[in-house]
């Protein structure tokens, strides 16, 4: 009888991937079907004792703004900063920012107003998202460990500043498995302008088994790496080759007797064939109505990229993908910038970047809502850090750009079991540092896992002497955010 996760994965380490393993074990009656979900799809893999707590969310979609969104120009209204515009920060402390230039305080470049029935203050930067204010739970007191992009992205994704730790998406699919066996359970949709700093390390499964890493789905004929043969082999030949391999493998297994790993391999080729059908169909956006396509902005050049990915994200979630991660912003650096890293000019940069995602993200929220999916889908809108209330310019100037700010930034969440239309935490009067209820990433991660029915201190994996966790030795669930 297999009773613990550890035993389960000891088996896995001996050659049977958990994906196929669990279905095998279930067939043998060794493991009870995971009580977490009653999905119409085959539940292929899960930990025996999950969920730890009743789950509110079954799936997650995260929009990651790369480069550092200015909270002061979006979700954190600071009237005092308007008054102090052009004044000096007046602090003797040397701030840990990137370029080290501390200019004079600068007010927001965007007008703020109250939105919806909740009356949340939001700027005109994201007019479409602002129209969904009543669905949002905004955290205004995020803090990070690093003011450098790559480590800050790593912390946001894995809780650690270092390479080599599993990302949140990997932990979640390790814990909950997938609701589909014909699509990857953790899908990454990078900005078409390029990957974020740190590249694939952002969605690495670290020391978790490889099947838990994020799988990039991109456009074109090869939406997933190696989904189809490159070159000119015919589809018939593909089928024939696979069938022949399966023939050889079945005959081999007849000779060897019942062997879990061999059976898992047979099964994996069947799943591969299913994936070849389901990935193109999932990524075929022409199956959506004209109205839906337009709602996501597929008809406009500015919004088409993010629109496609948001719409694709919704389709993937519908078909049982557990975790979808959409990146807004490619590599840091270069000119003009292709990310939110507004060192030179917040107004210009943020206006251009927001134009790409505002309508698509709002459309995603509305679409999930109208399909009833927002009830059990967690939507995350995050960035690796915020920006400084002072300009990035000479000490006596109010330049148009802002530097990195790890001491305060805003993110929002929506959906599954959260209190909608609220804010949590606050910054000081100029938005320089988190003041009330600072939220480190560990706490946000703990909260996200909690909504998925996972106790963050119980989802562990043994690695080099330590039962590792997404939240390391930290993490508090933000109960005030929960409905």
């Amino acid at each position: 009888m297999i009773t613990t996760r550890r035993q389960l994965f000891q088996l896995g380490a001996q050659g049977i991937g958990a994906t196929a393993l669990l279905s095998l074990l279930k067939r043998e009656g060794l493991v009870h079907a995971a009580p977490a979900h009653s999905s119409p799809h085959t539940s292929t893999q899960s930990a025996a004792q999950l969920p730890h707590i009743p789950a509110k969310a079954r799936r997650v979609i995260q929009i990651c703004l790369v480069g550092g969104l200015s909270h002061l120009d979006s979700f954190d209204y600071k009237p005092e900063l308007e008054k102090l515009h052009g004044k000096s920060l007046g602090s003797s402390e040397k701030p840990d920012i990137f370029f080290g230039q501390v200019g004079l305080l600068r007010k927001s470049d965007f007008a703020f107003r109250q939105r919806g029935e909740s009356g949340l203050w939001m700027s005109d930067l994201f007019p479409h998202i602002a129209a969904c204010a009543d669905d949002l739970s905004i955290v205004r007191s995020m803090v990070s460990d690093s003011a450098n992009h790559t480590p800050a992205l790593f912390v946001a994704n894995s809780g650690f500043q270092f390479n080599g730790y599993p990302s949140m998406g990997s932990w979640i699919v390790y814990g909950l498995g997938s609701e589909t066996d014909s699509l990857p359970s953790y899908v990454v949709l990078p900005d078409t302008r390029g990957g974020p700093n740190g590249g694939s390390s952002n969605w690495s499964s670290g020391f978790l088994p490889a099947q838990h890493q994020g799988v990039v789905i991109s456009g074109g004929k090869q939406p997933v790496r190696d989904l189809f043969p490159s070159g000119d082999t015919s589809a018939d030949a593909d089928v024939a080759a696979r069938d022949f391999a399966q023939l050889v493998n079945r005959r081999h297994m007849q000779r060897t007797g019942h062997e879990g790993m061999f059976e898992a391999r047979l099964h994996s080729y069947e799943l591969a064939a299913k994936m070849q059908l389901s990935v193109p169909s999932a990524t075929d956006l022409s199956m959506e109505t004209q109205a839906t396509q337009e709602m996501y902005g597929l008809d406009q050049p500015t919004t088409a990229d993010a629109g496609r990915r948001c719409l694709l994200g919704r389709r993937l979630l519908e078909q049982g993908v557990r975790f979808v991660q959409i990146f807004s912003g490619g590599p840091i650096g270069g000119s003009p910038r292709a990310s939110w890293d507004a060192h030179e000019n917040v107004k210009e940069n943020h206006t251009a970047e927001a134009a790409r995602i505002d309508q698509p993200v709002a459309a995603l929220l509305k679409d999930l809502k109208q399909r009833g999916m927002l009830d059990d889908t967690l939507v995350l809108f995050t960035t690796e850090f915020g920006r400084t209330p002072f300009a990035q310019s000479a000490a006596n100037q109010v330049g148009p750009g802002r530097d990195h700010n790890r001491y305060a930034f805003s993110i929002w969440m929506a959906g599954a079991g959260l209190k909608p239309g609220i804010t949590y935490g606050s910054t000081d009067e100029i938005g320089w540092k988190a003041a009330e209820n600072p939220v480190p990433w560990h706490d946000l991660h703990a909260t996200i896992l909690h909504q998925l029915g996972i106790r963050h201190d119980a989802l562990t994996y043994y690695h080099n002497g330590i039962q590792r966790r997404l939240t390391n030795v930290h993490g508090h669930v933000l109960n005030e955010l929960l409905a």
Binding site: A18, K94, F162, P209, M275, N464
Partner: protein
């Protein structure tokens, strides 16, 4: 009573928090003196349990906080207090003193000295080929099980090929072995001989080092980029990889192998091998953007040291010492102080490239240098009287004084900042001052800037007499010719790129190259004269005290500075002021020339007393005989010099990414691991957990002599590889076992602590460890024992689900069969190359690069790229392996990212892996090559081509059903499609 009843309670339930550097509540229950009171006052009132705070908290279930004590334990404590709370026989007790259900103590099995392990008696004596078999059989028989039958010859040769060299056997090798075994089935000795011959052949193969070196690189977390923010490539790290492969092939004793990787540079006086070996310490992540605040710098350094200490502990001792950084180890008997002792032992280790000189003919170079010295002396003997005569004549007015060159500006700094020749008068900023006829600069804000120069300047010479406040300053400018905004400049700069070296500073180093001069060591104590000349062809030459400093080099210059748009600044590299640009020191005098002075002119200018005598002046004063001898000597000297130059040209310099040894900083214990909570100083050392190995490193720590980095690492290496360190031997043999059988005797090869649990065959582990030591720590004899054993040679056939073995031991921990294993990604790729006839089997050298490397404004992207190119067809161990950036094939076959040590790989079976094996462009190309090869080797008959394909890939013949299907497949879709299909077969990617 205390020893028997109370101490065990304290040890198991209390001391975790109530002992150590900062016991909770100030209550330390580990000794008699401290156990009675904490911060809040008395906790035990002897004789009165009700008045004792300890009793109250415990009996009310508040302590221990998570798990209250059992009733009888609580009662025992109460009685102990009532009977006077009398302490036991040991002065102090420790939560490490004994293992409990929660943690390992000093008595933990892996920490004990080696126990003798007599070979057990077993029933199935006919199966005992090696002593190993007796140990395995003893356990099996105790469970009523036995070994499976021997695997057939074809399975065995395939297994042992992949296991020992990571490549499949050729069809011919399989045939030969099968024939040898089947020709003599009745003569077991002949079979044994055939197999033994095969094993010895494989262990002697250079591919053995590639295979087992790869396993080691997993443990070494060997990656070829820094990771973190920048993730810059490490182009010179591969020397370590090659050293590992060579060492395995040479069967270097493992104690030396280990020691070399900790202190090879020290042990071999920076030999090529020693430098390469020490690459282990720095093979992991390295943060090159550590943040601006001092706290963040300290934090980054502590993180780095934890990474290194963690790797060393896990790799060689199976101890997760790094888990004791913030508190005593939660599971193993390692104190927080011991963690910092290890840290101190490695505190001098930093990351970087070291230069290594390959000397083609060192003895000849030495001889030439000696010869040159003789010539110099002989020439000097002729020159010196002539020089003295010339100087004497000058004194008497009989010879012309040599003319010093004429600058266009001169600053004497005697009373003011004026230019005593032209009009380039200076202006002081930032507190620059004149004292005792010198310009005083503070290295922070002080500098002088002159009015704009009124003429264009292209060729130039900068010259100054300067004394430095300190010689370890980095980047201060003495005199700089710059555009007035500072964006373009040429300057005399100290220590910017290399500490203590002078250099010709320029904007973005455009005209800067290493001069190769000596470290500045005098300028702190006296004025030195520094001049740099900028010739019209771009040559930049530096002089110190009138003599050539290093070597001239050709730059992209010279820059023409436009009249009125340039000026001179003193005390800073270029405008604007601030940061490392500022010089701390004093300038006595400085001059600017609008041409490049000759060496002679610089010498004259530098020699304040005009002591310089030129060669023509000397020759003029020699007798004809002297002159002939002088000229002969000069010619001979030039010839010797030319030979030496030629040798030096052939001398190649190689960069090796390895340990940069630095003077260790003082190590402190850091409470809770926090760099701001500094505790007492900790000396370099190790842990006392490892039984019987003296844990004093015997490093000299007397006042005035702190052990340097080299001494510390050498002592650590000696301690780890001490012959009494049983743990080291156990961990080493277990790694071998792990790779031979897929699972170690201890399942966690880098963790022999509490979390590792118990070994499956404790006696066998002791036996193998002892054998390793007996064999002088050589691995090949141990490999040999293992692969020759019956346990290893069993068949892998799965048992029926009601088979007793399967019921009793589904995980095969007792080894009732050989568990089949999916090949690692590297072995799959290597096998694809080999069977397709494409493998370039060259050993060693710089890596092949199958990723694009794109630096993008402070970070580096690595994207896998696929292309058909013979140079990429090398074994996968030679692949350039940055952190991130692997092909889907390697990724889906579980090749670990080298960011963390991977002593045990996960093995998964996924649809993405199936897709890669079917569709990956590289796999398809190899299928094409394999088909071509089979056609060439088997001729026109489809049936023989199919046979050949089978033989090459899975080393057997197709059965009839397969044959029929294969013919149909090939006829319709061609031979490459069959090759592609066979690459997806279990038999290809699994070693049974």
């Amino acid at each position: 009573m205390f020893d028997a009843k109370i101490a065990p309670i304290f040890v198991a339930h209390c001391l975790e928090c109530h002992s150590g550097a900062k016991p909770k509540g100030g209550l330390d229950l580990s000794s008699k003196q401290t156990a009675m009171r904490g911060e809040s006052g008395v906790v035990v009132v002897p004789g009165e349990r009700e008045r004792s705070e300890m009793w109250k908290l415990i009996s009310e279930g508040e302590m221990p906080p998570k798990k209250p004590l059992k009733k009888e334990e609580i009662e025992a404590l109460g009685q102990w207090i009532e009977k006077g709370a009398i302490w036991g026989t040991k002065e102090t007790i420790s939560h490490f003193s004994a293992s409990t259900g929660n943690r390992a103590g000093y008595d933990w099995w892996s920490l004990a000295p080696l126990a003798s392990a007599p070979v057990p008696q077993v029933k199935a004596t006919h199966r005992v080929r090696q002593a190993i078999d007796a140990f395995v059989l003893a356990k099996l028989e105790a469970s009523g099980l036995s070994l499976s039958a021997d695997a057939d010859a074809r399975t065995l040769i395939r297994r042992v090929y992949f296991d020992l060299i990571g490549l499949p056997p050729s069809p011919e090798e399989v045939d030969a072995f099968v024939r040898e075994c089947s020709e003599t089935p009745t003569n077991p000795d002949a079979v044994e001989q055939a197999y033994t011959k095969l094993i010895d052949h494989l262990l002697a193969s250079p591919h053995y080092g590639e295979r087992w070196g790869r396993h080691w690189l997993d443990v070494a977390r060997y990656g070829e980029s820094h990771g973190f923010e920048r993730n810059d490539p490490r182009h010179h790290a591969w020397h370590f990889r090659d050293w590992v492969i060579r060492s395995f092939n040479e069967d270097m004793p493992f104690d030396r192998f280990a020691a070399m990787q900790i202190a090879g540079d020290v042990m071999t006086k920076d030999s090529y091998d020693g430098l390469a070996a020490a690459g282990l310490l720095v093979a992991g992540l390295h943060n090159t953007v550590v943040g601006s605040s001092p706290t963040m710098k300290l934090q980054a350094r502590q993180d780095e040291l934890e990474e290194i200490v963690g790797m060393v502990g896990q790799t060689f001792l199976g101890l997760t010492i790094n888990c004791a950084r913030c508190h005593d180890h939660k599971f193993d008997p390692i104190t927080q102080e011991e963690y910092y002792r290890f840290t101190a032992s490695l505190a001098g280790v930093t990351h970087g490239d070291r230069k290594f000189q390959h000397e083609p003919d060192a003895p000849r170079a030495t001889a030439l240098i000696a010869l040159l010295k003789q010539f110099r002396e002989a020439i000097g003997q002729i020159e010196e009287p002539a020089r003295q005569a010339e100087l004497a004549a000058r004194k008497q007015g009989n010879a012309p004084q040599p003319e010093p060159p004429k600058p266009i500006a001169r600053w004497e700094f005697n009373d003011d900042l004026r230019d005593s020749i032209g009009s380039l008068h200076g202006q002081a900023s930032g507190g620059a001052d004149i004292k005792n006829g010198r310009l005083i600069l503070d290295g922070k804000a002080a500098f002088i800037s002159t009015s704009p120069i009124q003429q264009d300047i292209t060729q130039k010479t900068l010259e100054a007499w300067v004394q430095l406040a300190n010689i370890d300053q980095r980047g201060g400018g003495v005199i700089s010719l710059q555009t007035t905004n500072g964006s373009t400049f040429d300057a005399i700069v100290l220590g910017e790129r290399e500490p203590m070296k002078w250099m010709a500073g320029s904007d973005f180093y455009k005209r800067t190259a290493p001069l190769g001069g000596a470290d500045e060591s005098d300028a702190k104590d006296r004025l030195v004269h520094i001049a740099i000349t900028y010739a019209g062809d771009g040559t930049i030459t530096a002089y110190r005290d009138g003599k050539l400093y290093g070597k001239p080099y050709k730059s992209a210059g010279p820059v023409t500075y436009q009249a009125k748009q340039c000026n001179i600044v003193f005390g800073m590299r270029h405008a604007p002021a601030g940061g490392t640009k500022m010089l701390a020191g004093a300038i006595d005098r400085a001059q600017l020339y609008d041409r490049a002075l000759t060496a002679e002119e610089v010498a004259i200018s530098a020699g304040a007393e005009l002591q310089f005598v030129s060669t023509p002046q000397i020759i003029a004063r020699l007798t004809p005989a002297q002159r002939a001898e002088y000229q002969r000597l000069i010619a001979e000297r030039d010839k010797a010099q030319a030979s030496l130059d030629e040798l030096n040209r052939r001398r190649t310099e190689q960069a090796i990414f390895t340990v940069i040894s630095t003077k260790p900083q003082v190590t402190h214990l850091l409470y809770r691991g926090s760099v701001t909570e500094i505790g007492p100083v900790v000396l370099p050392g190790v842990t006392q957990a490892v039984g019987r190995v003296p844990f004093d490193l015997k490093l000299p720590v007397v006042a005035g002599h702190d052990a340097g980095d080299g001494e510390r690492r050498l002592a650590l290496a000696n301690w780890i590889t001490h012959k009494d360190n049983a743990l080291f031997a156990r961990v080493t043999v277990n790694r071998l076992w792990h790779h031979h059988f897929g699972t170690g005797i201890v399942e966690t090869p880098s963790d022999f602590g509490f979390n590792a649990g118990q070994p499956s065959h404790p006696q066998l582990l002791e036996f193998l460890a002892a054998k390793l030591i007996d064999h002088g720590y050589r691995l090949k004899p141990i490999h040999r024992m293992i692969v020759l054993s019956s346990a290893y040679r069993q068949q892998s056939r799965a048992a029926a689900s009601d088979d007793p073995a399967r019921l009793a031991d589904a995980n095969n921990r007792l080894l009732w069969r050989f568990a089949p294993r999916r090949l690692e990604g590297e072995a799959v790729r290597d096998a694809l190359l080999l069977v397709s006839g494409q493998l370039d089997a060259r050993l060693g050298g710089s890596p092949f690069v199958d990723v694009s490397i794109t630096p993008n404004n402070g970070t580096t992207y690595y994207e896998p790229m696929d292309r058909e190119e013979a140079s990429l067809n090398r074994r996968t161990i030679y692949r350039f392996s940055p952190r991130g950036g692997r092909s889907a094939l390697l990724d889906s076959l579980d090749c670990p990212d080298p960011s963390a040590t991977a002593p045990r790989r996960s093995v998964t079976t996924t649809p993405l892996q199936a897709l890669s094996l079917l569709n990956n462009a590289f796999v398809l190309r190899m299928a094409g090559h394999l088909a071509q090869r089979a056609q060439m080797e088997a001729g026109k008959e489809v049936a023989s081509q199919i046979d050949r394909l089978y033989a090459l890939t899975i080393q057997r013949r197709p059965d009839d059903v397969e044959k029929q299907a294969a013919i149909a497949l090939v006829q319709k879709y061609g031979l490459p499609t069959l090759a592609r299909a066979l690459f997806s077969s279990n038999e290809f990617i699994i070693a049974e």
